[in-house]
Structures are given as C-alpha cells and as structure tokens.
C-alpha cells in the first residue's frame, strides 16, 4: 500500500514570490507520482507527473517538481506565483503497473496574496 503526506495544509504567499509545496510518500514498490490542482467547485486537473527518466519534471502553468527517491519526496515549485494560482493542490501516488488507483494526500491550500 502507498501513502502520501502533504506537510503543509495552508501556504500563503505574496504575488510574484516563489513557492514550494511539499509532498512525501511511502511505498514498498516502485511508484508513479502526480500533482493535481483543484479550483473551487471543480474537479481535479493534472499539473504534472513523474513516470520515469529525469527527476525534474515540468508541468502546466509554470509549475515543476523534483522526484527524490532517497528522500521519498516530490515537492512542487513555482518561481513566481500569480493570483490565479490560488487553489488546492494534491499530491498523489500509484504503484507501477496498477490500474490507475491513485492515493492522494490531504491537500495544500495555496493562497496568493496581492
């Protein structure tokens, strides 16, 4: 079984500042890792994913994340945030070869302040 811990439930940050949302996972098997964003009253939208290869992955809206196997982490970063980035962000994991059964963290609310 897999588990995901998102270390910060809320992250306030000023517009144009950098941000990092932290995610740690636990698994006894190889995993794929994902970050999703959820805007109010909407479903989940995929920001980026790590499947294999380069540990630095780039996603939509200027976000990137780095997979660190030794630290079992997959932190999400953006060098300069905008008001429109205000949303809930979820880190998720699934075992390699599984049929897309995702295990999600409890989420981080990113609030970008003017």
């Amino acid at each position: 079984a897999q588990s995901v811990t998102q270390l910060d439930s809320q992250v306030p940050v000023f517009e144009e500042a950098p941000v990092e949302l932290r995610c740690n996972y636990s698994s006894s098997v190889s995993v794929y890792l994902f970050w999703y964003v959820q805007y109010p009253n909407q479903g989940l939208q995929l920001l980026l994913k790590y499947l294999s290869g380069s540990t630095l992955v780039k996603g939509i809206n200027g976000f990137e994340a780095e997979f660190n196997k030794s630290q079992t982490s997959f932190h999400l970063r953006k060098p300069s945030v905008h008001i429109s980035d205000t949303a809930e962000y979820f880190c998720a994991v699934t075992a390699v070869g599984s049929a897309r059964q995702l295990t999600f963290g409890s989420g981080t609310q990113l609030t970008v302040l003017p």
Binding site: N41, Q42, L44, F90, A99, R100, L102, F104
Partner: protein, 115 residues
C-alpha cells in the same frame, strides 16, 4: 469534445435513504473510477469499472455499489446513507491499457449532503 460529465451537481438526502450518482466518461474512454472527497481531505478511491465489471475496490463498505453500462457511463449507488457519507463524489475516466502518459480525466463532481 465533452469531458467527464457528472449529474446531479448537488444533492441533499436524509440519513437512511439511498442515492444514485451518474457519470459519463470522456469520449473515447472506457474505464470509470469513483472517488470520495470529504471536506478538507484528498479524494479516496472507491472502485473502478471496466467492461461493465468492478475491477478494483478501495476500502469502502458494501453500501457503496456501482454499475457500468454498455456505453461506458457509470452509476454510483450508496444505500443506508450516513452523515459521514456527505462529500464530493468525483468520477474519473481513462482508456484501459493506455499508459500513464494519458492522464485520468476528472469530472467536476457531485456534492452530496446527508442530513
């Protein structure tokens, strides 16, 4: 190209009642997964349907059941509703056998309130 559509968007039920939620997958997708997202929590996997059969199931009681139709649409049924069943129910679709480079597509969810 329509994405994943769910109905209704909101629903209020009383404890002990039964509810049915509906999902139409994205065009070209044949697999439907259901997730429960309680307030302030991340989504939790309920089950997945492919070829009209339940293929995987998360840690949910038998009160939660589902169905998939030949057109790939799906229903989630919850019997004997409890207050704790109040949540946002998300449907996600995918194409069986596709790689993870082809992501899950989520609907906007059905907000169920049990009073």
């Amino acid at each position: 190209d329509a994405g994943v559509t769910q109905s209704p968007t909101h629903l209020i039920k009383t404890r002990g009642q039964q509810v049915t939620l509906r999902c139409s997958p994205k065009s070209g997708h044949d697999t439907v997964s259901w997730y429960q997202q309680a307030l302030g929590q991340g989504p939790q996997f309920i089950f997945q349907y492919y070829e009209e059969e339940e293929r995987q199931r998360g840690n949910f009681p038998d009160r939660f059941s589902g169905h998939q139709f030949p057109n790939y649409s799906s229903e989630l049924n919850v019997n004997a509703l409890l207050l704790g069943d109040s949540a946002l129910y998300l449907c996600a679709s995918s194409l069986q056998g596709s790689s993870y480079n082809s992501p899950l597509h989520f609907g906007n969810g059905t907000r169920l309130t049990v009073t």
